[in-house]
């Protein structure tokens, strides 16, 4: 269809007019030659021709919109045909809708998490600063690193620091103190992220230096909820941790950070600090046109400079600095699981396609005569294919529209079982929204699907053997050899795909069960935890913190139903701190220190509250305070790793050698060994862990702790601890002089969160596997019952000749199970190869788990047998007389 056809229209029309005139003249000549008078010859020529204008119109019409008209005609025809077989149409649309729905759902999440750019201006130039080493890279910075990175002005436009998560701040001064998410940021933070300021301003660099005063910037949410979005709030003060903070500005609604913040306060770093503790994140914006090679070269120099200033032990020789795009950093390790998920739903869609193609083939074979007749009347092959493709596209688009709706219901389901660690989807998944990407994706796969499942039946149906088809005079013609083979191939493919899906699901189910069976090493049942923020000037020293722990412990123990209470600076399984150490007197060789281990500061009742068993030595007591000699308790994994020979209880441990002034403390005597806990999650081996009494921490370390993490209260009770939350929080408030608690969660919930990702993967793959299984069952049932119906006559003849009903039934079953068996063999081979991609999701199960690879094929065979049984049964009920009469 060329445009010239339109532009040349006048010329072409003139041409046609002239041609018609020429025709009429020739006709008139011919008539005159037969002896008619001129006038009559002319009249008859006109009569014979008909209205020249209408002929011209017909040529125009054909020339102008033939394809639109063709499509319209095909579509009307398709819809009429589909509405004549509502059962087929509904099943096909539903199957497609399920296939497209699950794809839309998973794609919506992928779109929100992986594809959408970060909401900050020019997100491509934002990077997160990393520490690099042979094990990969990790985020986190101390002030000296921040300082060095700040000086790389040749590659970075801006560099800003912000809390990992933050300890929380308490809004005080009212009747009900409230714990809010206060994030410490450096002065450049808002400029770096292009945060919109709706009132006032952000921090000045003077405010972000030591003793810069108490200032804060409010989030839009807090501004709205607490101040009714009143702009006059700028310049007033808010009480935070008992201190008045001047509100200098408000950030707009559009600014959404990964860790949602209620308000921001300046870090006020002392840039001369030699403090080596890593407790914040640093992001930077690249200068325009700077390449990664330039950044890396610059950071190599920076790492050398860092080693020169802070000593060779400050940075391992094989370590350095690097950057990763902020988007990558935010996505983290979510990409791979999401892509595996997309692969799984791709399988579901393929199964759906095979199913619908099968249904279409069956339908096409019963319409052979229609196609043959049309071909006889001059319809070309391409016209028949086009007609059939119009039908399948009408089906797939209807299925796609329904799938879009299903997909959105599916997204709600996905988010409701969200493991809680999918980044970028917002608190409640609100960031997963319908956008043009998703619409295009759904439209795209609908079209592809329609072409995919429509093309094979269309091509096979468009090659009718005219004579043979028109010659056949009964319904017994059956599926021709070709389409019969095709349908069998589709069933085999469906079975194979389904088997791979179900084996994947089985592996993940086994993983989840194994994880559930792992003993965490501590009590989770009837244990509740709550966070108390210790930020503020009151808690810069150890004594007042220890006092609150003592008072709080006494008061909470007095609450009826409470069995025990412990305190810690971090929560088991919720991520903690690590610290390097030396074993006193042990030669270190080339390494600057003996090793690293998990680091907990705890109260003396902590092990009792979590019923972590004491294996050797003694537990902490209330007397292990700042006045007493330093003590430390280690876990079994620690003892095993560092004392393969010898007795840890005879040794002393020096924590944090060279880690900075906050950790400059004396050696501690090992007094006990406790049982291991699965802190990194049930799928990781317990790692070495050291525990020291909170009451024995140096003041500087307490100050740092108060700043970076809240104090966690852990309470074990006789009854459901939720029912005791109110008296416990009241007791803690009394003990702490009015401090609120937040993040109240039972340890059961925290444990569930730890296996949430496995549960998520398992649930989804089980749902997809079941959907595949159901579709495959429909597929094999459809093929077998169709073939039985088509072979009614043959079966009737066999019965008339004395075949037993059971023979016929077995024959049908044998044929159906043959297809299934081939599918199972192929699928098992596919699963052998594909399950390797699941390896990183598995725990306690091998990718070639014999149980999954035996049970699953058996399950599939059983389901197939069930779907074949019904048509097989029907085969035995064929009445020979009826069957023969059909002839």
């Amino acid at each position: 269809m060329s445009l010239r056809r339109f532009t040349n229209r006048t010329r072409k029309d003139r041409d046609l007019t002239e041609e018609i005139d020429s025709h009429l003249a020739h006709a008139q000549d011919a008539n005159a030659a037969r002896g008619l008078p001129q006038e009559e010859a002319r009249r008859q020529a006109y009569v014979r021709f008909g209205n020249p204008r209408s002929t011209r119109e017909r040529v125009w019409r054909y020339r102008s919109l033939p394809w639109m008209e063709d499509i319209w005609r095909d579509l009307r025809f398709a819809l009429r045909g589909l509405s004549k077989t509502p059962g087929f149409t509904i099943i096909a649309i539903l199957v497609i809708a399920v296939g497209i729905g699950v794809n839309t759902a998973v794609f919506s999440v992928i779109n929100a998490v992986l594809l959408k750019p970060l909401t900050y201006p020019d997100p491509k130039s934002l990077v997160e600063m990393r520490n690099t080493g042979p094990q990969g890279s990790f985020a986190g910075a101390n002030i000296p690193k921040f300082n060095i990175w700040h000086q790389q002005a040749s590659v970075f436009q801006r560099v800003a620091a912000y809390d990992f998560g933050g300890a929380g701040l308490n809004i005080t001064g009212g009747d009900h103190p409230e714990q809010v998410q206060g994030i410490h940021v450096s002065a450049d933070y808002f400029a770096l992220f292009g945060a919109p300021v709706v009132a006032g301003r952000t921090f000045t660099s003077a405010e972000d230096s030591p003793h810069g005063g108490h200032v804060t910037v409010l989030s839009y949410g807090l501004w709205k909820s607490r101040y009714g979005a009143d702009p006059r709030v700028v310049g007033t003060t808010i009480q935070l941790d008992g201190q008045p903070y001047l509100i200098v500005g408000v950030i707009g609604r559009g600014f959404v950070t990964d860790t949602p913040a209620d308000l921001w306060v300046p870090f006020q770093f002392d840039m001369n600090s030699q403090d080596m503790a890593h407790y914040f994140t640093v992001a930077a914006r690249l200068k325009l046109g700077v390449t990664m090679a330039q950044v890396n070269a610059q950071l190599r120099l920076a790492a050398d400079e860092y080693r020169r200033i802070y000593g060779k032990d400050s940075l391992p020789a094989n370590g350095g600095f690097g950057v990763v795009s902020l988007q990558e950093a935010t996505i983290g390790d979510t990409r791979f699981p999401l892509l595996v998920l997309l692969g799984a739903v791709g399988f579901v869609l393929l199964i759906a396609c095979a199913n619908v193609a099968n249904l279409l083939l069956a339908r096409a074979s019963s319409r052979k005569r229609e196609f043959a007749t049309r071909a006889a009347l001059g319809a070309g092959r391409s016209q028949i294919i086009r007609q059939l493709l119009t039908e399948s596209l009408a089906l797939s688009l209807a299925g796609g529209a329904l799938g879009l709706i299903l997909g959105f219901a599916g997204v709600r389901f996905l988010l409701s079982i969200n493991p809680g660690n999918i980044p970028r989807i917002g608190e409640d998944g609100s960031a997963v929204t319908l956008d043009i990407n998703i619409l295009l994706f759904t439209l795209g796969i609908s079209l592809l699907t329609g072409i995919f499942f429509g093309l094979i039946p269309a091509i096979s149906a468009s090659r009718p053997n005219l004579a043979a088809t028109l010659n056949e005079n009964g319904s017994h013609s059956g599926i021709g050899f070709r389409s019969g083979k095709l349908r069998s191939a589709l069933v085999i493919g469906e079975m194979a795909l389904t088997l791979v899906l179900v084996i994947g699901a089985a592996l993940l189910i086994r993983t989840f069960l194994k994880l559930q069976a792992v003993d965490t090493g501590f009590a989770t049942h009837n244990v509740i935890s709550m966070a108390m923020s210790m930020s503020g000037d009151r808690f810069q020293k150890t004594a007042p913190v220890a006092q609150i722990i003592r008072d709080g412990t006494d008061r909470v123990l007095a609450v009826p139903g409470v069995l025990d209470v412990g305190v810690s600076n971090c929560l088991p399984m919720a991520g903690g701190f690590g610290m390097i150490f030396d074993v006193v007197g042990r030669p270190k060789g080339n390494s600057p220190f003996t090793g690293g281990a998990g680091f907990y500061s705890i109260s003396w009742r902590y092990f009792d509250a979590l019923t972590i068993p004491l294996l050797r030595g003694r537990s902490f007591t209330e007397q292990d305070n700042g006045a007493a000699p330093g003590v430390i308790i280690i876990n079994q994994a620690f003892a095993r790793q560092y004392w393969p020979k010898g007795d840890p209880l005879k040794d002393r441990i020096q924590i944090g050698p060279g880690a900075g002034p906050a950790f400059a403390e004396g050696p501690r005597q090992v007094v006990g060994i406790v049982g291991d806990t699965h802190d990194g999650g049930p799928n990781r081996d317990p790692f070495p862990m050291m525990y020291i009494p909170l009451a024995q921490m140096p003041d500087l370390e307490t100050a740092l702790n108060s700043r970076v993490a809240p104090l966690w209260w852990i309470i074990r009770s006789q009854v459901n601890p939720r029912t005791l939350a109110a008296p416990i929080t009241a007791a803690l408030r009394d003990a702490s002089g009015g401090l609120p608690v937040a993040h109240i969660r039972t340890m059961d919930e925290i444990e569930a969160r730890n296996t949430a990702r496995q549960r998520f993967n398992m649930l989804l793959l089980t749902v997809f596997g079941s959907a595949g299984l159901l579709m495959a069952a429909i597929g094999v049932y459809g093929v077998m019952s169709y073939s039985v119906q088509q072979r009614t006559q043959e079966l009737g003849v066999r019965m008339a000749l004395g075949a037993q009903a059971s023979n016929l039934r077995n024959m049908v079953i044998r044929q159906g199970m043959m297809l299934t068996l081939i599918g199972v063999v192929i699928g098992t081979g596919g699963a052998f190869w594909l399950t390797r991609f699941l390896a990183s999701f598995l725990f306690g199960v091998k990718t070639l788990d014999p149980i999954a690879f035996i049970v699953t094929p058996l399950l599939l065979l059983a389901v197939a047998l069930l779907s074949i049984w019904i048509p097989a049964k029907r085969a035995t009920r064929v009445d020979p007389m009826t069957a023969l009469r059909l002839e």
Binding site: D15, L16, E18, E19, I20, S22, H23, A25, H26, A27, D29, A30, R48, F49, G50, N51, S54, T55, R58, V59, Y62, R63, E69, W72, A375, A376, L377, G378, A379, L466, A467, L470, N471, N473
Partner: protein, 114 residues
């Protein structure tokens, strides 16, 4: 959008085939084509002349025939149509289809007369 059925639509394929067949004998203009079809079929097939031109133009658009203006046997300006190689192939295919169909129909009609 519904339009009344036209004779040319129903026998579309057939008319195209007949036109192509006529052009095997050499280039011809519309009036000749109509006359040849009518005479050769012993006037059994009367080409609706109004349908002839849409058909010719469609065949030309599909590359089955080409056309050029020339002078006719009785010295009138006329547009002559000529078979292209694509048109020859289509004629063969259409003839084959037609033969198979008539045979098939013949078989059926034969049976129904039992």
């Amino acid at each position: 959008m519904k339009r009344p059925p036209e004779a040319g639509d129903i026998l579309q394929g057939t008319l195209d085939m007949l036109i192509l067949r006529t052009l095997v004998m050499g280039p011809a203009h519309g009036h000749t084509i109509a006359e040849v079809i009518e005479h050769t079929s012993e006037n059994a097939l009367e080409v609706e002349q109004g349908s002839l031109y849409p058909a010719l133009h469609r065949l030309e658009d599909r590359g089955m025939v080409s056309s050029q203006w020339g002078v006719s046997e009785n010295n009138r300006r006329a547009k002559f149509y000529q078979l292209t190689s694509k048109g020859k192939r289509e004629l063969n295919a259409a003839t084959g289809r037609w033969r198979r169909m008539t045979r098939a129909i013949g078989l059926i009609l034969g049976e129904s007369h039992e």
